[in-house]
């Protein structure tokens, strides 16, 4: 049996070298608190947390209270004066700025779109789609990818060969094209978009976990468990996967950002969630025709995507630094 690592030992490898179950837990607790401490000290990851918190609250608010941000208005196809007591016009610029359609007012702080809809309200609703797809697709892809990677790495041999070829095939089709093909085949709906994006996420985690497992597999405690007749399933789910948790957590956080970018790209190409449901990529696609008359319309949705993705990247980088003190970022 490997010597039990002291809870005050260096953060780096304590979880991997932990011998018996309760020692694992003990070092895991101290590790978690150390990671949290580290995160708190890092101002960049604090900013990331704030951004993610804000985006999540906004997305939740739109589901809890439909009247808070007038969803009907956000999702109407055409501008109807009765939908808009403020009496807006199309393509208004933000507050205080003037263009050929008029001067921006506080009734529409960020201006209006080509159908006279409030850009801010539509941005707020776009948050929901982005966060939903980003989080759920990453969750599904991570779960499947982790299991496939663990099984592949643990058993090796032909199981590994078959699963690796499968994963390489998924990798070989450019992910945007894969999702577009999936959505053309099964429908341009939110659920299908989530499935499509999760499929492109699987290989990322399979590779990550497989390489982790290859190093963990040879550890003495896994050998010991095998010798003691512990079932494979138990070894994979209770020992191997938990020990690879840290890099998976980091990768998941970063992957949410990547997936939000994929969803926006899909909507931009017209393969995402269909209008009138508002999404950031679709707003950008619409704005292309009005770039000269109202460039602001092209600026806001991009800023929303940028801010959200930066949030997840900052947190992901912060987590990596906190978990692996050797990294130099």
């Amino acid at each position: 049996m490997v010597p039990v690592s002291d809870s005050t030992a260096a953060v780096g490898d304590s979880a991997r070298t932990g011998g018996v179950a309760d020692a694992d837990e003990r070092s895991a607790v101290s590790r978690t608190s150390q990671v949290v401490q580290q995160l708190k000290r890092n101002s960049a990851s604090r900013v990331g947390l704030y951004v993610i918190g804000l985006v999540t609250v906004v997305a939740l608010l739109t589901t809890i209270d439909a009247d808070l941000f007038d969803y009907q208005f956000a999702a109407t196809f055409w501008y109807h004066p009765e939908n808009d007591p403020a009496g807006s016009t199309i393509l208004l610029p933000p507050v205080g700025i003037e263009n050929s359609f008029g001067t921006g007012t506080w009734a529409h702080p960020l201006g209006t779109d080509h159908r006279g809809r409030d850009v801010l309200v539509r941005l707020v609703y776009g948050t929901r789609i982005a966060v939903q797809v980003g989080l759920i697709a990453t969750g599904i892809g991570m779960t499947i990818g982790t299991v496939v990677g663990a099984v592949s790495g643990y058993y090796g041999g032909w199981v590994d060969d078959v699963l690796q070829r499968f994963v390489e095939s998924l990798y070989a089709i450019p992910f945007l094209i894969l999702v577009i093909a999936i959505m053309s085949a099964f429908g341009k709906e939110l659920g299908i978009a989530i499935v499509g994006v999760s499929i492109t996420t699987i290989p990322v985690f399979t590779r990550l976990i497989r390489s982790q497992v290859l190093s963990v597999r040879e550890m003495e405690y896994v050998e010991a468990a095998k010798a003691a007749g512990v079932r494979d399933r138990h070894i994979i789910f209770r020992h191997i996967i938990p020990n690879s948790f840290a890099p998976v957590l980091v990768q998941s956080t970063l992957q949410v950002g990547v997936n939000i970018l994929i969803v926006a790209s899909l909507s931009f190409l017209g393969f995402g969630v269909q209008p009138p449901t508002p999404s950031w990529g679709q707003m950008l696609a619409h704005s292309r025709q009005y770039m000269i008359v109202n460039p602001w319309f092209s600026i806001w949705p991009g800023l929303a995507i940028l801010a959200t993705v930066i949030g997840f990247n900052l947190l992901g980088d912060g987590l990596r630094d906190a978990i692996d003190p050797r990294s130099n970022d």
Partner: protein
Amino acid sequence: MTTTGYIGRRLLQIVPVLLFVVTVTFVLINSIPGDPVRILVGPAADAAAIEAARAKYGLDQPLYVRYVRYLAAVATGDFGTSIHYGGVAVTEKIFERLPVTLLLLASSFTLAIGSAIPLGIFAAKNRNNGYDHLARVTSLIGVSTPSFWVGLLLIIVFAYYGDLLPPSGLIMPWADPASVDGATSRLDVLVTAASHLILPSITLGTLQMAAITRIERSSMLEVLNKDYVQLARAYGVSERTILRRQAFKNAQLPVLTVIGIQMTTALGGAVLTETVFNINGMGNLIITAVRAQDYQLIMGTTIFFAIVFVLGVLVVDVLYAVIDPRISYGGGAGE
């Protein structure tokens, strides 16, 4: 194992991957609702004309027959014909569009690698001072920005407001001067081609540049902290020599991996960039194919992308082994 043996083994591994890609694509494409033949012949055609067209493209056969036929055809390099483009061979269409996309990819990768590697090294050398922070913030923004948005902003600033560069299209540098607007000599063509290439290359290259800068910086930092570098410093070897002679080469392995990964993203990114700038390349071709439900064309382009990608990965892996002799070509689990 020798290099040749390794390459041979890897080429063999490509076969099942491509077989899988063909199968997945075939199943997906045939699940698309709608009838391409009806789109082709138009609403006015009678039943006989529809059946004739269906038979002409082999679409009257059961699915498994079409699958086996398709596999056999692909194996001989025949990707079928495009319904949307009036029966032109898919391969012909691909090779017509391919140079455009390759030019775009080459130019954006040159831009990305050429700026990212010096920037990353510079940031690592000046760790934690102003330059480093600037490089880190810039690359963070770069990996977090949707590329098509960068394209839209560039068009607004440089094409519409600045009126400096064209907002759309791409001219091949080897095009005939007579076919290019306002060009009388080769030089004119080259200038026009370059001016069309700048904005799309920045659009496509931003993400690559940011990602490579990040990995170059952290990889250099890691190497610069290694014992042998510390020892060289202790012996009084200048920082410049250390960077050039010792650190640089050893820091490039992770960088190469990231460049390899960026290739997939770049192929997807080309679809977006070509859409933003109305460039008639492979990306535009695949989007047109999907919109027109041109089965053969969708499958052909997808499989072609997969072949390019798989071969690209192989090249990166071989380069990897060339740069780092410690990496064996063996088939062990640690591969």
